[in-house]
Amino acid sequence: MKKVILGDHAVSYGALLSRVQTIAAYPITPQTLIIERLSEMTANGESNAIFTKVESEHSAMASTVGSSASGARAFTATSSQGLALMHEMLHWAAGARLPIVMANVNRAMAPGWTIWTDQNDSLSARDTGWMQIYCQNNQEVLDSIILGYKVSEQVNLPTMVILDAFFLSHTAEGVDIPDIKEVDKFLPPYKPEIKMDINDPRSFGALTSPDVYMEFRYKMQESMDKAKEVITREGKEFGKMFGRKYGLVEEYRTEDADTILVASATVASTARAVIDEMREAGQKVGLLRIRVFRPFPTEEIVRVIGGKKKVIVIDRNISFGKTGIFFDEVKGAFYNYTGNKPPMFGYIAGLGGRDVTPKVIREIMDDAIKKDKPESEILWKGVKL
């Protein structure tokens, strides 16, 4: 059934269709609409999930960890300051190998106080062991929640489904809401191998000596590597069933392109219009959208942009003291590449929700195309000096 819904409500529908059994959440703008709708769904009987109101995001994730460990399909959602507050529990969820799915609405970090989008909140959680999916539209948001559980429950690592504040969270788009019976065929009930069980008591995550701690971390990395295959396979399978295929990255007009723009989230969906406009003018440009940031799709990135003449990365984030984070990682992917390494331009744009319009992207493209090499590691777009 097609409906015009907000990105936040696409998350709610994704959780509903995944038949989540527990929801523990604390409201924060711009995530509030997600849990508001989920609380309605649990109150009116659409969903059988247990909805728990908690006193903070730290508690939201702690509660989600507990219910997931006891074998429930568990869900929560947050944003920005809330994600930062639950940071300790993010490590717990991943280290305990729990297939939790959480939506995070990308909102810039304070101070100065802000509610608008950028990616520094979720990228600060980069090394927690969570998979991260950056969505470009409301349809992908809904689909990625369902896919998140399908993948997480195979690799025993949690998934963060990420959507831009306001540009997705509060923007209405046409979304195909699949029939729950069809989703059931794709996503069977969660059956963990080990769970908290009063008839088989165990202690979870107890003191772990230097003898074995490192092996647990080795296994997390092994699962992250395996997740690349699982995400690709399940994304194809989802495509067969629902007509929408998903992968680690998405290519747009890259094949004969000599200049590739790398972007993520809504900057990437906006960039598609710019690519079309420049193609019409005869310029050989293409777009590589990084959809999955963890596990990082090194091979796919090298395959698409290796040997190209120029690579332009737009980051709506910054690692202070370094560069844009996607830019840094894309460069890193090429360290062992023996072919012709393209010069890379790293632009920072749109921090704190500043618009990244087609005009802004076009100016970035034109700027990089006219230069042989970047004059500095960071190219600030639109910063007023």
Binding site: N156, R202, F204, G205, V212, E215, F216, Y218
Partner: protein, 99 residues
């Protein structure tokens, strides 16, 4: 992974579960060796108020019935001394462990 009553032998990552879940409950994890001071109840002075039983942070004091003095479980007691501190008639002595 080999599991005897005394120890678990692990070869390496290939031999381990993904999550750090124990093979049994914490009941197997006897923590008495942590103890330097051992609480000893003088049963002749005990008024059976069970305040020590309520306060023990490790549930290492056993309750039988209200006419029997509480019994300290020396397999788990870590010797924190809260019981001795809280006892209203001061009938619990903290005695140095001999090893």
């Amino acid at each position: 992974m080999k599991h005897s009553k005394k120890e678990i032998k692990i070869k390496g990552a290939s031999d381990m579960p993904e999550m750090s879940a124990s093979l049994g409950s914490m009941a197997h994890n006897k923590t008495a060796s942590w103890r330097n001071l051992k609480p000893v109840i003088d049963e002749s002075k005990c008024i059976k108020c069970f305040i020590c039983w309520k306060f023990c942070p490790d549930a290492a004091i056993d309750f039988t019935d209200e006419n029997t003095p509480p019994k300290i479980n020396y397999d788990y007691c870590k010797g924190c001394g809260i019981c001795a501190h809280e006892c209203p008639v001061k009938c619990i002595d903290m005695v140095e462990e001999e090893r």
